[in-house]
Symmetry: C2
Subunit: 141 residues, 2 copies
DNA sequence: GCTTGAACCTCTACCCACTGTAGCTTGTAA
DNA sequence: TTACAAGCTACAGTGGGTAGAGGTTCAAGC
């Protein structure tokens, strides 16, 4: 049986985070020692590892909860899992393209910066100027 | 003089957000009518537009605050602005590469999914399996 | 001048996904 | 037996807002 600190180390999770997962019902309440300390088994270790992997892949806790549910019921269709993973992939791709637009804009700003005093600074000028803002670029301006 | 709702519409900000910016000292306290309603001038409009642009570019409120400070002092060096923008660019690039790794992993999972019952689901298998996790991939496994 | 109702006001609580702290108790190794 | 690391609970705080309750003010139409 593992103490919470050991479980934390093995899964690369903080102790508080494990207690938090228990609190929101993502991890089951574990057994306790006579003195009230939590003790975990291998099942808990696997479950927590699963959660961490899902989180690393960017799934929200709610999506992770759904995935755990599906994992607990091996007879249900894999298609449901597929839907969740596809949704996640889509979200990741949206975030990537948004960030790529930002990168482009930041690079453009920096390239044109005269590096003199602030009053001539291209970066601030862009931030101040409506006609140069992202919203307009999105419209194709 | 503009009411808060007009300012909100003009800048694409929510009314509550404007009050929040005032609360955290990002926007100055505006004048009020006799009845206590906020009234804004063009300076406020410009400042809020600046903040929105900075936020759209992914700057944190703290970075935005720094940029506003620099903008308020036109004699200071543009180099400081440059540093902040470069820092932001770096952060954006880190986020992009992290998301690209996620995308790759999600695609790999989905490609190998047998689309049968959950017990054969490749997605869940990957999440369950330590040897296939991102942390290992990062180490070159 | 009066009435209506949209827009404003303050205050408080909530969102996600944790993280940190204070003050106390338990487990374990020497 | 003692020392102290590690555990416990409970609560506050993070960023960047958002939502709602319950009350007040402004401005347009009559």
């Amino acid at each position: 049986m593992l103490a919470i600190g050991t479980l934390a180390k093995r899964t690369g999770t903080k102790v508080q985070t494990i207690r938090y997962y228990e609190q929101i019902g993502l991890l089951p309440e574990p057994g306790r020692t006579e003195g009230g300390q939590r003790r975990y088994g291998d099942t808990d270790l696997d479950r927590l590892a699963f959660i961490r992997h899902a989180r690393q892949l960017g799934f929200t806790l709610e999506a992770t909860r759904e995935l755990l549910d599906l994992s607990d019921n091996p007879d249900r269709s894999c298609a449901e899992v597929d839907v969740i993973a596809h949704r996640q992939l889509k979200e990741v791709e949206v975030r990537i393209s948004r960030l790529e637009a930002l990168r482009k804009e930041l690079k453009r700003m920096l390239r044109e910066c005269s590096r003199d005093t602030v009053s001539d600074c291209r970066v601030l000028e862009v931030l101040r100027d409506h006609s140069a803002c992202l919203a307009n670029h999105d419209k194709g301006v």
